[in-house]
Structure formats: C-alpha cells, structure tokens
Amino acid sequence: MLSCKELVAHSSDFLDGQLSFRERLAVRTHLAMCRHCRRFIRQMRLSQAVLRRLPDTPIPELDALSARLAKQRRDDLVS
C-alpha cells in the first residue's frame, strides 16, 4: 500500500500520465481512501491552472522588433 509520502513523490508523474498501469492503480486506490491526498492532488492541479493563467510579462519593444523582422523579410523577398 502506497504511503501519503510516496503518493506526493509520485504526484507529478501521476498528473503527467507518466506512471505505469500498476503505479496508477496504486495512486487511485490510495486517493479513494485518503482525503488529505485527494486535497493535495486537487491543490496541485489548481497550482498548475494558476501558473497557466499567470499574466505574461510584457515583451519590451515588441513593436520595434516586429517592424524590424518584417522589414528584413521584405528585403529578403526583393533581393
């Protein structure tokens, strides 16, 4: 039987679908019985979602860079 500590150690692989069939079964069996670990996995998923939605830092000089690259491309087209 998987311990809570082991479940935490396997949690990323569980979320990424990197576990073997047997390991996944062991994790699911543990989760069915342990509310602390269910909460942990739920909060790990929530942390993932928070990271995904964290606003991007603005790109400095986006306009200048895009204008420069587009011009380079147009110059390449002519030559």
């Binding site: 311990s3 500590k5 935490v8 909460r39 929530l46 979602a49 928070v50 990271l51 587009a70 147009r74």
Partner: protein, 202 residues
C-alpha cells in the same frame, strides 16, 4: 491563444508587420525559456534576438512538417547550443531553496502518513486566486528563485504546454531528469500558494 499556423504563415512570408507581432507575442515567452535553460539568464536575450533573425532568414525553408512553434523552439535551442563553447555534459539538478520551501519530509510521520496535511484553501478557482495581485508577485518571486533549468522546465511545461518529450529533445536532458526538475519546481509553487492561503501574505 496561439494563432493558427496556416493563417500566420502566408502573412509572415509576405512580410506583414502584424503577422510578426502576433508571432513574437505568441512564442517569445517559450523561446526565452528555452534559451534561458541552455545559456542562462545572462545571454538568453541575445540568443532570442539571434534566433529571430535566423527564423526570418530561413522562413522560405519552413516545410510545415512540424508546427511553427516547434520549428521556432528548435531554432532557438540550436542558436543557444552554438553559443556554448562546451556542451554541458552534466545536467545541473541544483535544487535551490525557494521562498516558502517545498513539501518536504517534515510534513510526514515516520510511517509516511501526513503529519501536517494540506489545509483547505479559501479560493478554489485559479481566477479567484489570481485576483490577489500580491499572490501574483509572490509566485513570480518563487519562479525567479528556481534554478535556470528548473524554472525553464516549469515554464515550458505548465505555461507553454510542451510535452515532456519535446522538453527533453530541446534541452538535451533525459526524461527522468525532466520529471525530477518539474516535480521539485511544482512542489515549490504549491508551497507558495499554500503559504499565501494560510497567512494571506507572501
């Protein structure tokens, strides 16, 4: 969301300013993470600039076999690698201390059960959590505290949505190393969110 390749490509080929703007907006974050992982923070911006020039120069050669994103990231990785005088042989699995720690052994009893189980959080949607501007800053600090490789792997997986295999190929590191880096980084992010939910401050 990233623009569709078949919409973007003809406009890029025609040299349209706005198409390049969309391309940069969509992918520069991922390119920077790749460069950061390979050459470190000091040269990452230079590598990204060089990679953009290489992208424009080789635009005619883009075959559409891979997605634009994969193609851009491959060019970025190659640009970064050519910058390294010595190819890194050992992957640095440095685990630097994070502002709010991690989910460490002290959380568990000797039999492996939780000693300090996770507590309930006040908010259960990412939008509600991110409404707190202090939490956003706090998370940015935690991400900045990660080693260059650990932070990049986290960004590429969680923010840029790359598959683990793509990360291995771009950064020349094994799948098991990617898994270790990602797991450690995630636990630190978890610890920051947990700390913030418990104390209301960073």
């Amino acid at each position: 969301m990233s623009p569709a390749d078949d919409d973007l490509l003809p406009r890029l080929l025609a040299g349209e300013d706005r198409a390049f703007r969309e391309l940069i907006g969509a992918y520069q974050g991922a390119m920077r993470a790749v460069a950061y992982a390979i050459v470190g923070s000091r040269h990452a911006d230079e590598v990204v600039q060089d990679a953009w020039l290489a992208v424009v120069r080789s635009l005619n050669g883009f075959q559409g076999r891979a997605s634009l994103k994969t193609w851009l990231l491959t060019i970025t990785a190659n640009t970064a690698k050519s910058r390294l005088r010595h190819v890194r042989r050992e992957v640095l699995l440095d685990d630097l201390p994070a502002p709010h720690g991690t989910v460490g052994g002290e959380r568990f009893a000797s039999d492996g059960h939780w000693l300090t189980p996770p507590s309930a959080w006040h908010e259960d949607s990412p939008e509600a959590l991110l409404n707190e501007s202090e939490l956003r800053e706090c998370l940015e600090k935690t991400i900045a505290s990660l080693s260059e490789l650990q932070g990049s792997v986290l960004v590429l997986r969680e923010r840029q949505g790359l598959e683990l295999e793509e990360i291995c190929n771009l950064l020349d590191i094994s799948l098991s190393n990617v898994r270790v880096l990602l797991h450690r980084a995630r636990l630190k992010v978890f610890a920051t969110l947990e700390h913030f939910e418990e104390t209301g401050q960073c």
